[in-house]
């Protein structure tokens, strides 16, 4: 077998469907699926209630993961702020956690934390670390030297400078990082179903939903709306906490 053929073979075979892949069609969705429509409005109206719990679960997953990720990443930033030697390892470490696909992370944790919500949360938090850490460091680095010099010369202690000057001025970048992290987490949390963590993914993958377009669309739609809502709220928060950025003189 020539090398090229050896490479092409897997791709060619890839079309073969693996076993145990398509789940059984659930009887309650059958009427809608039988019509082969993309989106059944009637079914949607009737069954909208079943999305309540998954949505709440999803919200919780996202909120807890992002808050946990923020707490850890922020702590990292404070540590690395005055210790430049910490920065490369922290950046690399959080980078590795970011690169590993979440679904793989869920199952890397399997021998340690098993299945369940905790596993999902750990993996989702880990994913947010790099974004938040990096943005916080950039925000702090962007504080003008003259402002820090003036603050020091006026008699603020290093701690006062950090909390009263540097962090407030870094807020836009920090919130930007939070926004990216949150939106990404909402999308990825759909995978939590694989870890047994619940969430909207259950309405896409679990129990006969896998080839039920209406449910996929609804669940996906809710996820996207949630992401946009979080984004909007954080954007407004950013605007509210940085009144000095409005109306600058040319």
């Amino acid at each position: 077998m020539t090398g090229a053929a050896a490479l092409a073979l897997p791709l060619a075979k890839a079309g073969e469907v693996g076993e145990g892949f398509f789940h059984e069609r659930s009887s309650e969705t059958l009427p809608c699926q039988a019509t082969d429509k993309l989106f059944c409005f009637d079914w949607a109206k009737e069954n909208i209630g079943r999305y309540g719990t998954p949505t709440v679960q999803h919200l919780e997953l996202v909120a807890i993961s992002v808050l946990l990720g923020f707490a850890i990443a922020f702590a990292f930033s404070l540590l690395a702020h005055r210790r430049p030697w910490l920065r490369p390892p922290l950046l690399a470490g959080t980078g590795i956690l970011y690169t590993i696909p979440s679904i793989a992370f869920f199952f890397l944790l399997l021998p340690i934390t098993g299945r369940g919500r905790e596993t999902a949360i750990i993996a989702l938090s880990a994913y947010t670390l790099q974004i938040i850490y990096r943005n916080t460091m950039i925000g702090l680095a962007n504080v003008p030297t003259a402002v820090k010099d003036a603050a020091r010369g006026m008699g603020l202690t290093e701690r006062q400078i950090l909390w009263k000057v540097e962090l407030p001025l870094a807020t836009p970048e920090i919130v930007a990082g939070l926004r990216i992290a949150t939106v990404s987490t909402v999308a990825i949390a759909t995978l939590a179903v694989f870890a047994g963590g619940g969430g909207l993914g259950t309405q896409i993958y679990g129990q006969g939903n896998i080839n039920f377009a209406t449910s996929i669309i609804i669940a996906g739609g809710i996820a996207i709306l949630m992401a946009l809502a979080f984004d909007a709220v954080l954007l407004i928060t950013q605007r509210l906490t940085t009144p000095w950025r409005r109306g600058a003189q040319a």
């Binding site: 402002v147 010099d149 020091r152 006026m154 008699g155 000057v165 407030p168 109306g247 600058a248």
Partner: protein, 395 residues
């Protein structure tokens, strides 16, 4: 007018002296010190300018006072107390600090910026508010600007806020590092003048760093010209510096136009003016011609009934019986007693006149100025003893 209730808590004459005693700053293991054994005494209430080429250590020397740069050896005494004995943060709350890029806090309003140190010192809200209002007025800013953010102000306004912020807690000493360096020349002059006006009122001890010798001469009561390593080549008043530079370095630094620079320090009123024979309209020319003999200025000046100069009379004018209302030659440049000497000379040269009439503040003739008078005066011993403080000098 500042509120009397507040001003008596702001003692203006309570400015303090700064003394460097063998102050040395060495970075790392380098053999050369940034500042080497500096000995300097700055009297209270005066503006002392540290001037010199880049890298001479003037900024480093200034920063030794508030310990934003730490001493390697030697000492700096602030109001008699060593800065080493003070906690740096507390020390800095008693020194005003103004830097070139200003460094206003972008995320705080102008009023909040000014209130920074009083806040740190735990002043009560009312006191801070009163002080802020007072300072805004002092620096000539509209009180409503207090609620704006720095980004909404012009460069000149920002710099003024920077000065106000440094003055807020009524510090013992003001440290100013090229504070007007980043401003355009027109506004820089305005800011310098305003600072001098302010200094005339509050009389702070100021340590001012600049690389611009003209600024040093304008702003300083005393100037320390520094060489590399923070070595003081000369520490003197501006007039002394201009008239008697200590060595070639100082001479080069001050510039070849020393004499002209001196003229910036004087007013026309400092000089003994010559007198021109005066003529009135309708006067008999014979009288006028009689006055001409032996006069200091060989041309008669036509004045009105109030002794206000109208023009110069020529030979042709004197040929007539009486003095005509319209003189032959126009008045030319008309100077004022309060004019800065350098500007007066410029006017003289520009008008291509040999003599220029000088009037007092009511417009009445006070004397006549010429280039000859100026150069005679510069050479005379009398000029050497004239010395105004920076705030009283023409600016």
């Amino acid at each position: 007018m500042p509120d009397p209730e507040v001003t008596d808590e702001v003692p203006s004459a309570d400015a303090s002296a700064v003394r460097y005693e063998n102050a040395t700053k060495r970075y790392g293991d380098s053999a050369e010190a940034a500042v080497e054994r500096l000995n300097l005494e700055i009297p209270a209430g005066e503006v002392c300018v540290l001037v010199g080429p880049s890298g001479c250590g003037k900024t480093t020397a200034m920063r030794l006072v508030n310990r934003t740069v730490e001493l390697t050896e030697g000492d700096v005494l602030l109001d008699g107390e060593s800065v080493r004995d003070r906690d740096p943060a507390r020390l800095r709350r008693e020194t005003g600090y103004v830097i070139q890029q200003i460094g206003l806090f972008p995320h705080r309003t102008v009023a909040e910026n000014i209130a920074t140190v009083p806040h740190l010192l735990g002043w009560k809200k009312e006191r801070i508010g009163a002080r802020t209002a007072e300072l805004l007025e002092l620096i000539g800013l509209d009180p409503e600007l207090g609620e704006r953010y720095p980004a909404q102000l012009s460069g000149g306004q920002q710099q003024r806020v920077g000065v106000a912020r440094a003055l807020a807690a009524d510090p013992l000493v003001m440290l100013m590092d090229e504070p007007f360096g980043a401003i355009d020349p027109i506004n820089r002059e305005r800011l310098q003048n305003e600072f001098l006006r302010l200094q005339a009122e509050i009389r702070k001890t100021v340590l001012f760093v600049t690389h611009d010798i003209d600024e040093a001469i304008k702003m300083g009561d005393r100037i320390a010209v520094m060489r590399k390593g923070g070595h003081v080549a000369q520490y003197a008043t501006p007039a002394e510096l201009l008239m008697a530079p200590a060595d070639e370095f100082v001479e080069d630094f001050v510039g070849a136009d020393r004499a002209l620079k001196r003229l910036a320090l004087m007013r026309v009123s400092d000089i003994d003016l010559w007198e021109a024979p005066l003529a009135h309209v309708g006067q008999a020319t014979a009288e006028v011609r009689a006055k001409l003999r032996g006069a200091e200025v060989p041309y008669p000046l036509l004045v009105d009934s109030e002794r206000r100069p109208l023009g110069w009379l020529s030979e042709r004018d004197l040929a007539a019986e009486t003095v005509a209302a319209r003189p032959d030659s126009p008045l030319g440049p008309l100077l004022d007693l309060d004019d800065v000497m350098r500007d007066a000379l410029a006017d003289l040269l520009q008008g291509e006149a040999q003599y220029a009439a000088v009037a007092d503040h009511r417009g009445r003739i006070a004397g006549v100025l010429s280039v000859e008078i100026i150069s005679e005066f510069l050479a005379s011993p009398q000029a050497k003893t004239e010395e105004h403080g920076a705030a009283e000098r023409p600016h």
